[in-house]
Amino acid sequence: MNEQELAVLSEIARQIRILIIQMIGRSASGHPGGSLSAVEILTWLYFREMNIDPQNPGLPDRDRFVLSKGHAAPVLYATLAKRGFFPEGLLDSLRQVDSCLQGHPHRLDTPGVEASTGSLGQGLSMASGMAMGLRLSQNPARVYALIGDGESQEGQIWEAAMTSGFRQLTNLCVFLDYNDLQIDGRVSEIKDIRPLREKWESFRWRVHEIDGHDFSQIAAVLAEFRNEKERPTMIVARTVKGKGVSFMENNVNFHGQAPNAQEVTAALGELNHGR
């Protein structure tokens, strides 16, 4: 990846982070930490990887993205808006009573949202189902999903992992947003999900481990995914919760708590100038 391309992508990611902070700040409610940790992943998927048309969000051969960790809705909404699925101005209405942007993604309300998610563990099964449905129709579209590390404590994740691995869903690519924080504290202290590579490989997945904020690494493993012939793909993406805002980084308090007005100003200041 050349420097110019990297600069373009980094600028999109920076703008998405600003939108996330602004929308959660305005609604005074939402999940900033796990939204900020997934910005590079969604930026790459929506701006470089997926076959999608924001003007025609229902095309049958479109690639699908399922946000299994539905509480990161702000990063999905910001990315969809930035990509042109709906006007950025709508982001102001996040979580308001008359808004099309629910606290957790709802496919019947928001253009570009493929599945309603929020109850953890279910999105991966739905993504796996989409991959099966597309394969049954001999549709070449691919399915991408993002699961959380805390979410990986849900039993349903491993039911879906077993199904997708056994059924060799090569058209399914799942990112694990591995920031090691969940509401009650460190994932590794509450119920450690490691070892990850061994777990997913034993469930018959192709496993890649990357820095989830590095576009080059994201691009490289997705190129491998496109050529995958045997297994579904698990990308364990090491991330930083709250990435991009110094006082939110690795701060569990910003899992599900909105920044106050002062914090919003400080965060936007960092994102606008302090780089």
Partner: protein, 311 residues
């Protein structure tokens, strides 16, 4: 009356629908031989997916497949399909308005010897509380086939509750199923007996017993439980002034509750709600269980007489 298997009718109908619709997909969770989805599986191996013992994954996967444009049937025993997996039914299926048809077999005490763990007595209460989903409880094989066809042809979530046991065939080949329309099986003027599933036949027998005691009992098959047939309910509440419901299900949240919710607000009449009250089932032959838990035709007739004996 000839008896037929509701599960058998389900399997046969799936096979027929599968031949007509290449986008029909069927999922099961290691109970294909019991639910009879195996009939479909034999001819359409590619469109049948045995999810193994993973009901949560099955229901959410069904929603995912449906979101790619398929019509998906998913089956297991009722208690595992909507009890164990309630949140997946709620969020993956209903909230997504996914085109998923949940067809549960082995409902209620009629499961028999397997006992309480396998006897779903809350599945109607659970599904009836959810938006988007329609709930059907067929009373015989004919109604089962028609309900399955109706669900396949109608976009959106359905729950169809079947029995393990064969039931007498109540309807002829000319019968037509309509959502929200409860078939009147017998007219009457003193009391209305409303049954669901396996209890419809017992309500008919009870009406005979009541008739012998010069009590004129109407019998309605409330197979279409959500939406409820409010029109016939209102008409017979006004006509007979007494409504007795009977269900192989908890009295809390089921058929009787559905009728009471409506009638208490629109046309309060004397009601008796028969079913399982705050208790689990147990092992035994189905007919012995119905005796044990006082859900026989004689029990229904007795309750009907009791209602009429009071002013």
């Amino acid at each position: 009356m000839a008896v037929e298997s509701l599960r058998g009718a389900y399997g046969k109908t799936l096979l027929k629908l599968g031949r007509e619709n290449p986008d029909l997909v069927v999922l099961d969770a290691d109970l294909a031989k019991s639910t009879q989805t195996q009939v479909f599986a034999r001819e359409f191996a590619g469109r049948f997916i045995d999810m193994g013992l993973a009901e949560q994954d099955m229901v959410s996967t069904a929603a995912g497949i449906a979101l790619t444009g398929k019509t998906v049937f998913a089956s297991s025993f009722c208690t595992f399909l909507v009890g164990r997996v309630f949140d997946q039914v709620r969020q993956s299926v209903c909230y997504n308005r996914a085109n998923v048809k949940l067809v549960g077999t082995h409902s209620g005490l009629g499961v028999g010897e397997d006992g309480a763990t396998h006897q779903a007595l809350e599945d109607i209460a659970l599904t009836r509380a959810l938006p988007e989903i329609r709930v059907i409880v067929p009373a015989d094989a004919v109604e089962t086939a028609l309900a399955v066809e109706y669900a396949a042809a109608t976009p959106g979530p359905f729950f169809i509750r079947l029995t393990r046991n064969n039931l007498p065939t109540l309807f002829g080949p000319e019968h037509r199923f309509a959502m929200g329309r409860a078939p009147l099986l017998r007219d009457g003027s003193d009391i209305t007996l409303i049954g669901m599933g396996a209890m419809v036949e017992k309500a008919l027998q009870a009406a005979e017993l009541l008739g012998a005691a010069r009590i004129s009992a109407a019998v309605i098959d409330f197979s279409s439980l959500k939406p409820l047939d409010e029109e016939i309910l209102l008409r017979f509440a006004k006509k007979t002034g007494r409504i007795l419901t009977v269900e192989d299900h908890s009295v809390r949240g089921g058929l009787g509750s559905a009728c009471a919710e409506f009638l208490s607000q629109q046309c309060p009449v004397r009601m008796k709600i028969m079913g399982m009250d705050d208790q689990f089932g147990r092992s035994g032959k189905p007919e012995d269980l119905y005796v044990h838990f006082k859900l026989t035709a004689a029990d229904i007739a007795g309750a009907g007489k009791e209602m009429l004996s009071r002013p």
